[in-house]
């Protein structure tokens, strides 16, 4: 059902979405690897371990986090504090942040032949903004200036597992993080559960369309990391990213 929503062929009234290309397809010497998944799925641990492995092999690696650009951080936190943000402005301000990082950091690094690791990419926005009632075509259109990751890992955990990881460790939930502005529930924990459940639906709907490498996040850290490393080694010519080429 969710496929129908995002498939342009099934929506004849809408202009066909541009097929997004990967950096490899666009002829960049660098490669971009992204991880996606719910809060508490363990994706940050996995990309950290991937980064350590690549670094220790002496490769040109750069790590970039979603939402980390200094420039719009000020505006985001101000908006969040004053709860000024609506689904539309929330979406736009994150797109602005992404564009800033993309154009000033990611693209130059990829042109310089780096392996760029991203903790979340635009799939997070696709899932989150759509759950937050923004029109799917509009959101995707906003990000159409960007290329697709060369590899995307999706860490699929049972909803309850990831919920418990978050709710056990950090009981203080933030307003927007819990989707409290959406009126799902007046109880912040219940709201968070509903929000995360809908996010998972959106991720699963995108999984095939964007060829996610789905990793079972209920497995041990080591098992997951072994699979991730093997897939990366199979798909990317790692020796060519050595800091000093022979």
């Amino acid at each position: 059902m969710e496929f129908a929503l995002s498939s342009p062929a099934l929506r004849p009234n809408l202009p066909a979405l541009k097929v997004m290309k990967t950096f490899a397809q666009l002829g960049f010497p660098g490669r971009l690897i992204a991880v996606e998944g719910l809060d508490g799925s363990g994706k940050s641990t996995q990309i950290y371990l991937l980064k350590r492995w690549l670094e220790l092999r002496g490769l040109k690696v750069f790590f970039s986090e979603w939402n980390s650009s200094e420039l719009v951080k000020a505006a985001t936190s101000k908006g969040k504090k004053m709860t000024l943000l609506t689904p539309t402005t929330f979406s736009l301000i994150h797109a602005t942040d992404f564009a800033d990082r993309y154009e000033r950091q990611l693209v130059p690094l990829l042109r310089a032949g780096y392996l760029v690791l991203c903790d979340r990419f635009f799939f997070t926005a696709f899932a989150r903004d759509i759950v937050r009632t923004c029109p799917p075509e509009w959101v995707r259109g906003l990000y159409s200036f960007a290329a697709q990751p060369d590899m995307t890992f999706f860490f699929r955990a049972d909803l309850e597992v990831s919920l418990n990881r978050i709710l056990d460790g950090r009981p203080e939930l933030k307003h927007f993080e819990a989707g409290m502005d959406m009126g799902f529930s007046t109880d912040i924990y219940e709201s968070f559960r509903i929000f995360q459940g809908r996010m998972l639906e959106q991720y699963l709907a995108m999984s095939r369309e964007f060829s996610f490498n789905v990793i079972d996040a209920n497995e041990t850290v080591e098992t997951q990391q072994a699979i991730v490393r093997k897939l990366v080694a199979d798909r990317i010519d790692l020796p060519s990213f050595a800091i000093r080429k022979a």
């Binding site: 101000k78 800033d100 259109g141």
Partner: protein
């Protein structure tokens, strides 16, 4: 005999003040719109004044506000870089000229969206006349001059309401230079398009940039069909033109 005299002495009945009740016309968005906007409840009118700096936009808007309020209509004004959310940050970023094009474009769109949701929609719902000092057309023209993708811009600004009237104050770049100097004594960096590297000479760059902008506006006019108003006339003449057109908007024509 006394009666008619008495009647004559009565003060003449005050003339019924003529306040035109604006006719409700349906509103729509250019694209996907804003979630939960309730377009059918937007009773007010959205009037946009476009044109380069020095074309007389603020003078015209000030006069329209006087006239509209004098005629019994409540007004509110919006413009670029006026949102509570990001206007300061945008200013700061522009001073340093550190943003790339897509980023700057999205930043402006954020500023615009914040005003749509927090000012324009509530005001239109309450039946106000919303006067916009510039609108998405300026934002689109600036980006088009800088080589950005038109389809991308159209999707982005699908959140904009279709105005009830759009006036483009048209004036040649040469006249603009004269008016800018009469007002500011110096040309503005961005209004001269200095980021484009058209010329290292600011005067030269200003003329080239404004000509490119005018060309984009002409292109956009074909799509969005706004009223091109000859702004190389006295402010009163221009205003009389605008009022006549707004009167017919109020009458729902």
């Amino acid at each position: 005999m006394a009666t008619p005299r008495k009647v004559r002495r009565l003060a003449p009945a005050p003339r019924t003040p003529e306040v035109v009740i604006p006719k409700l016309t349906p509103k729509r968005f250019y694209g996907e719109g804003i979630p939960g906007a309730e377009e059918e409840k937007l009773r007010g009118k959205l009037i946009v004044v476009e044109g380069a700096d020095g074309s007389g936009r603020s003078t015209q808007i000030a006069q329209l506000v006087e006239w509209l309020e004098g005629s019994g209509h409540a007004t509110v004004q919006v413009g670029l870089k006026r949102s509570d959310l990001v206007s300061e940050e945008l200013d700061k970023a522009q001073e340093g000229n550190i943003l790339s094009r897509t980023t700057l474009s999205l930043f402006y769109a954020t500023d615009f969206a914040d005003q749509v949701e927090n000012i324009m929609l509530p005001a239109l719902k309450a039946g106000f006349m919303v006067l916009a000092d510039r609108y998405i057309y300026t934002l689109m023209a600036r980006d088009l001059v800088r080589g950005m993708d038109e389809a991308w811009l159209k999707n982005l600004y699908g959140i904009a309401l279709v105005p009830d009237a759009v006036f483009y104050l048209n004036i040649t770049p040469e006249q603009l230079v004269q008016r800018n100097f009469a007002k500011n004594k110096a040309l503005d960096y961005w209004e001269s398009g200095m980021d484009l590297g058209l010329s290292r000479d600011m005067f030269d760059s200003f003329l080239k940039y404004q000509a490119l902008m005018a060309r984009q506006f002409t292109r956009l006019q074909a799509t969005y069909g706004f009223d091109i108003v000859d702004a190389d006339r006295s402010p009163e003449d221009v205003n009389a033109d605008l009022r006549r057109k707004i009167e017919s908007v109020l009458a729902g024509r």
